[in-house]
Symmetry: C3
């Protein structure tokens, strides 16, 4: 059994951002030499997500609108978490809805994807350095 | 280490549908010969889900109502994704809430389930041929 | 390849509860002897979740408020699932939003976590004995 570990680092200029990380995960897979197995990709921070969906700018706008309506950032005083001095309770909720991680099959040395699947880093409390973990297990 | 790969195909007659695929995943597990390991089951399309919940028709009605209230299909012009000529922005959002994939433990050659766990394909933009991937890793 | 299986049991005194199970998962990992691999932690019941977020009481209050607004318990007659004699349709929906499972990387014999990641059991229909499965695969 082979394993491979890679951290990806991000610092977005906006509070909310979606970044296509498929190429970076494919790079990690090539470096691993794994041909058959599983690839875990997870946010290492609890106000960010990793998810799979469409690389389409309009959809990312729709996700942002949807999440902001569901768990609005303002007024920050509506959340008890923000009594701690934080202002990111909404980011923790948004991340929970979008998910922490994806597990992708590895077949014949490639991410075993359907036609439109792309992996995204979803940032909900940006403007600071944050990490994604790629862990590859197989042979 | 053994791996096994199987695609399941679906074409639903309605836009939204829930299909119990537990038996088909169990068939793939038997074919794999794996006794201990992990079984990944994921939608290969980004407007569909794989999730685990109850096989009860009333609950599926409740899921549909819940998701339709959260991210209504109509009016389609409320979503920027639909400016591309698509009308399925809501389907991408619904899939994100319900999840893309499940990972199930394999113990003694069986899906290691609690008493009511059943695996579902959740379709949110049906009436076309779409796929689910089953990937089994273990020994 | 090594595998290890452990069940964790819970019986909460309230309908909704969040319990930090990180220490129990770390105990299972130590018992497994696995140094590199993947750790699956999933609710075995379909009205409960396992998720990763912050161990902060205010945030758990916010999650509860958020979920109750999204899928209120009362009036129970608003859900078709409850026509079966159950009163927990909302619990199935809440679990779906929060997720069934997490998959955590194992690196050098430890859960490979970011600075604030903690694993929680999320109960949405408590006051009965329910289980979480920990399945560790690696070497």
């Amino acid at each position: 059994m082979k394993t491979h570990r890679k951290e990806l680092w991000f610092e977005t200029s906006t509070r909310i951002a979606f970044i296509n990380i498929t190429g970076q995960v494919e790079d990690a897979l090539r470096a691993s030499g794994v041909r058959e197995g599983l690839c875990l990709v997870n946010a290492m921070h609890i106000s960010a997500s990793v998810f799979i969906n469409d690389d389409e700018r309009g959809l990312h706008h729709d996700f942002t609108q949807f999440l902001e309506k569901l768990a609005p950032h303002e007024p920050t005083a509506q959340y008890r978490h923000n009594d701690t001095g934080e202002d990111n309770a909404d980011s923790h909720i948004k991340r929970q809805v979008m998910g922490r991680e994806v597990v992708v099959a590895i077949t014949a040395g490639k991410l075993d994807f359907g036609p439109w699947e792309q992996i995204f880093y979803g940032e909900f409390d940006g403007r600071r350095r944050k990490r994604v973990l790629v862990k590859i297990v197989g042979e």
